[in-house]
Symmetry: C2
Amino acid sequence: MTFTILFGGSSYEHEISIVSAITLKKVLKQSALQFVFVDAARDFYLIPSDAMKSKHFASGAYKKEKRLTLKQGGFFLDGMLKSKRIEVGTVLNLIHGRDGEDGKIPALLSFYGIPFISPRIEASVLSYNKLYTKWFAQGVGVKTLPFEHLQKSDTRTLSTPLPCIVKPARLGSSIGVSIVRDEAELAYALDTAFEYDHDVIVEPFIEGVKEYNLAGCYTDDWEFSIVEEPQKESFLDFEKKYMDFSRDEQVHAAQIDEKLRDGLREAFRKIYDPLFGGSLIRCDFFVVNDEIYLNEINPIPGSMANYLFEEFEATLVRLAAHLPQEENIAIDYRYIDSIQRAKGKA
Amino acid sequence: MTFTILFGGSSYEHEISIVSAITLKKVLKQSALQFVFVDAARDFYLIPSDAMKSKHFASGAYKKEKRLTLKQGGFFLDGMLKSKRIEVGTVLNLIHGRDGEDGKIPALLSFYGIPFISPRIEASVLSYNKLYTKWFAQGVGVKTLPFEHLQKSDTRTLSTPLPCIVKPARLGSSIGVSIVRDEAELAYALDTAFEYDHDVIVEPFIEGVKEYNLAGCYTDDWEFSIVEEPQKESFLDFEKKYMDFSRDEQVHAAQIDEKLRDGLREAFRKIYDPLFGGSLIRCDFFVVNDEIYLNEINPIPGSMANYLFEEFEATLVRLAAHLPQEENIAIDYRYIDSIQRAKGKA
């Protein structure tokens, strides 16, 4: 099995995408791996496996690698006379944040007919924006915490009680997120969030809430990871999240009963099917008074949440064999022909 | 002002996109125009202005035109030694249906840094799917008709009273849409809709409902078209819609009072701002008992609804001068550097 890991991107999470890719290189031991880097200027580079070190990117040394161009059917190496297609197998979209999670990369790969593992465009847009995630979850019958949605131009009066959590609707990795315990902190928290987005979500912050993460995908059957109870402080800041993206050691399953586990899986299935077909995602849930709430969908989890799976690589190989197929639309010019005939021009 | 009209696409509406493009060629008299065709195989062709006739595409003659490749910064003509960028000015995304309206084309143009008029990715996904349009409209305070959402695997029991209208959630141009007046027709209508989509929307069909269309955009101010009361039979079938896409004669404004006109504009603004920035869209409304309901958003209306505007070309030129700018994300490798230092590797 050949996988091509696509990473980097014009994103606040560019650097953690590099860390994710290096981690997957360690984890995927049985497969043939290729690496395609998208730099800050959105140029594509083919990176040799032995150059997959963070310094190669931070120093700019990657610029000496071969450039690639996307064309119908794949990535092409530019040559003097004719460009040559490289065999990519299945692309893993590992670009966190903008480009990777906002739908651009899935759109490019779909348009150019390249097989890939990632949420598709619709699933990307619905999970990249926390407001849409709420609408979607409610629409498919999964509870979410109550929330308020503020736009930049709205008056900043809130009815959510303190403590609350203030989040930009779009970004990931806790960027621009604040916990507000005190009325005096609210204005600053909102300013911070609005620096990153014109839509902001405010939710009650529940002290000591039980949090459970479950990753999975659908191949020829449901494949679920273990349920993890994340070890956390109030929430992870960017640097801690960063370290989190390099995880490759399997974690211990949370001590939960079968009923809760089944409930989490049921909520996961409602979210995933059929919108997230072709992707491996992590859903982060809260449990309050025995009720399960979706906190957020992590459409491209750090290092693909490999540490939550017992057979991560085998799962990925099965997923690659069960990607959604685009519907074939035959274009026969029947209408144009009939109109031409009606006009006496055919 | 140079506009490049991008049309065709791998879409059920490929042919009406060609008709739209030919119509715009007639309408845009002051601007320099270029034409880029996306064929059924999703290859790009530069089409000379005098070849913009439907037969050129239906006959396959277009295949002799110059091929283009998208790269960072624009469309490039492939040459023997070096590829040459063509000046596109502002691209008008005129690809109706899949590719153009599902977010792929906006994603490509955004990724490659090409200025373009079209809904962006998020706006595309929210308007391409009638279910998401409902959630979104309600979220921004615009009423919609009540509806039921069915997935392919759901039991087909409905609580919507007859007559009702059955629509695939995604496609446009009335494809797969049926009006059901009789219980006996329901199963067939659902089968038809599910042939095109795994999500189906069922709404009450209100006989003789007042329908009003309003197009517009935001440039340095709001620019609204006249309000049209579409002349219609129950609804337009594909062939009639097709003819509709070639309209280039200005229509008469609907005879409505100022209060209704202002109400329609207010609903339009709530839908458009800020999500649809950079696009010219048409919103189709119903009015029932003096209440305004959004029926659907037409993100890329046929021939851009030119016939609804008094100064269509001037509006388009102003829109091109007020496109949303992508946020610049500086990537400085600060985190990688600090981690390298912490590991003693820097």
